[in-house]
């Protein structure tokens, strides 16, 4: 080959060139998108509160201010006295409880979506790429998981694993979150399979194969980035679903348990006082809403940033 290389010795440009990559370009484009940056900042804020909430909260989330409850004759309203957002019927500071709830709600959001991506993407990608029997097998399995009652599955799994190390992690909540993820990955698997089925027939895949790129790298470097838009939207939309699923489970005794709080649980608990003390529902619900909007802005920005065709049109 040596003599052939000589023939290619066209004048080489001396200028140093930075090689571009999709992810680097996407990050620069993301930073130019104001809404996405705002959403990202809020997400970071929520994560910060989730981690350090117990240090910066005005009160301990368990601490009861019984004198204030007696004085008010029920839950203390917002903006009266030392409790900025008021207290619940047991005299616990609502702001502190929302800050503590951020921990569980953010963990559920991230753990569930991590499980969804970790299982859904490989299953969908393998089904689409290899096709044939494996495709049939995986998609029928997906159908079975889809058809299995979610709640029953979560109850069974968390009960079965209750006494194990995994079952005890995070006060028994981790197993519940993973169980929610294990019921939720089917949508992602179907989405990825559908996207990849159309992408794998394109000529740039053939070009990559002709170069000698391995199957794994074709899927991860070429196909998945091209399918990233719908995947990001699905993850973004899945986050509120996971937060609300945890609240549902808390209601039947599987999610966060007293005296711990999660946003979903606070909303459920506050419903009893909806008429007299709407702030008990309003503020946790507002926290959920702001988190959702932040994730959505960030997700939309990420999706647009990953699409080079939208460059400069944001």
């Amino acid at each position: 080959m040596a003599n052939r290389t000589g023939a290619l010795e066209a004048p080489a440009a001396a200028a140093e060139r930075r090689s571009a990559s999709l992810w680097g370009d996407a990050f620069r484009r993301l930073l130019r998108n104001r809404l996405a940056v705002l959403g990202g900042l809020f997400v970071l804020l929520f994560i910060f509160v989730a981690i350090f909430g117990s240090f910066i909260a005005p009160y301990d989330y368990r601490e009861q201010d019984l004198a204030a409850v007696v004085a008010a004759g029920g839950p203390v309203g917002p903006w009266v006295g030392p409790h900025i957002l008021g207290t619940d019927n047991l005299g616990r500071d609502l702001l502190s409880r929302i800050m503590d709830g951020a921990r569980i709600s953010m963990i559920v959001a991230l753990v569930v979506q991590a499980v969804v991506l970790f299982i859904g993407v490989p299953v969908g990608a393998a089904a689409a790429w290899f096709g044939g029997r494996l495709d049939t097998l995986l998609m029928r399995f997906t159908d079975i998981v889809y058809a299995f009652p979610d709640l029953l599955f979560i109850i069974l799994l968390s009960t079965a694993l209750r006494e194990t190390v995994f079952g005890r992690a995070l006060d028994g909540l981790l197993v519940v979150f993973v169980a929610i993820g294990l019921t939720a990955w089917v949508g992602m698997a179907r989405l990825v399979r559908g996207q990849l089925l159309s992408l794998k027939e394109t000529e740039f895949v053939e070009a990559a194969r002709a170069i000698g790129v391995s199957d794994f790298k074709i899927v991860t470097r070429h196909l998945l980035p091209n399918a990233s838009g719908p995947m990001i939207v699905a993850v973004t939309l899945g986050i509120p679903g996971a937060i609300l699923a945890e609240a549902t489970l808390a209601f039947i005794g599987l999610g966060a348990q007293e005296p711990r709080a999660s946003w979903g649980k606070l909303v459920f608990d506050g419903q009893a006082f909806l008429r007299s003390e709407p702030h008990l529902v309003l503020f946790p619900a507002l926290a959920v809403a702001i988190a959702l909007i932040s994730f959505t802005f960030l997700g939309d920005g990420l999706r647009d940033a990953l699409d080079p065709k939208l460059k400069g049109k944001q």
């Binding site: 052939r4 440009a13 000529e203 053939e206 070009a207 990559a208 002709a210 170069i211 790298k217």
Partner: protein, 392 residues
Amino acid sequence: MTTTNGDRPLVEVEHLAEFFPIHGGVLQRQVGEVKAVDDVSFTIRRGETLGLVGESGCGKTTVGRLLLRLLEPTDGTITFDGTDITGLSERDLKPFRRRMQIIFQDPFASLDPRAPIGASIEEGLRIHQIGTPAERRDQVARIMELVGLQPYHARRYPHEFSGGQRQRIGIARALVLEPELLVCDEPVSALDVSIQAQVLNLLRQLQRDLGLTYLFVAHNMGVVEHISDRVAVMYLGTMSEVAPAQEIYRFPLHPYTIALLSAVPVADPGARARQKRIILLGDVPSPVNPPSGCRFHTRCWLRKQLDNPTRCETERPPLRDLGPDHQVSCHFAEELVQVERREELIANAAAVSSARAVSDEEEIGPVELPPPDTGGIFDPAAPIGDDTPGHP
């Protein structure tokens, strides 16, 4: 280019076949197969351009894909530079991947829309672990200049380029590994005519400078004539005729090739009037259930004039030598060797075609066609059928 096997063709293809299964029914059983390529043999010599032509669906693209092992052949062998690559695992095939590359028809689909073109071009070097990152960038820049792109465009994305530029990117991606064989799968069909010439000239120049060997797949006879040393004509998964380019355009010997070439538009109106067009009747038969014997016998004008010999239906004609470097797969190709007999047969076939064209055009109902052997009633030289609708 110096190589150890100087005499041997770079590529030898023997009895290549590709059948795509058709699944149907509730159980998705195999109910048939598309015989896309059926027993095709040919060679590609070092440094030459072999043009591969035929109608769409004749299997020429499949042949190109099979050569690169992008498809697994059902049968037959492909020998690349003395090594049978048909049975190689993907791992053993990797060194050969470097030596043969492909450029595609559709410059819009053949580039990853989410990869900067520099990354697309560089990918081959990365995969084969050639050079340091800095060396790879230099090589990418060199190749981009070689194909007429600005190296600073490496950071841009495919959608920012025109069709012709993208085709150059595709060529750069193929050339960055310094291959010996380049399969060009209709590389100019999707481009404007003005750009076609640019890309063809670029391909010719690269061949001269780099000593490349091309398999040039196309359906446009004019483009193939411009670039090929030899031309292979395919019909319905089989090879009809292989000959040097000048020979095949001047004196084709397979009835299908003659019909195909008679349909090539001629710019000179005088020559066009004299052109004897043979219009083939009917459609190309389905490759799922191809005709027995000679694949072309259902539409063959030569067979009709020879009073439909049964041999065409029962016996498959092998590709046999008729003249130097000229191979034809037709039982009766000898009929076309002698010039006077050939002219007579072609004139008759053209007369039948023009008569049909007139009747179709004026909708005067069925006209009585002259018996094929009489000729002369319709002057084949008359410009009757030249305004036929259905331009080839």
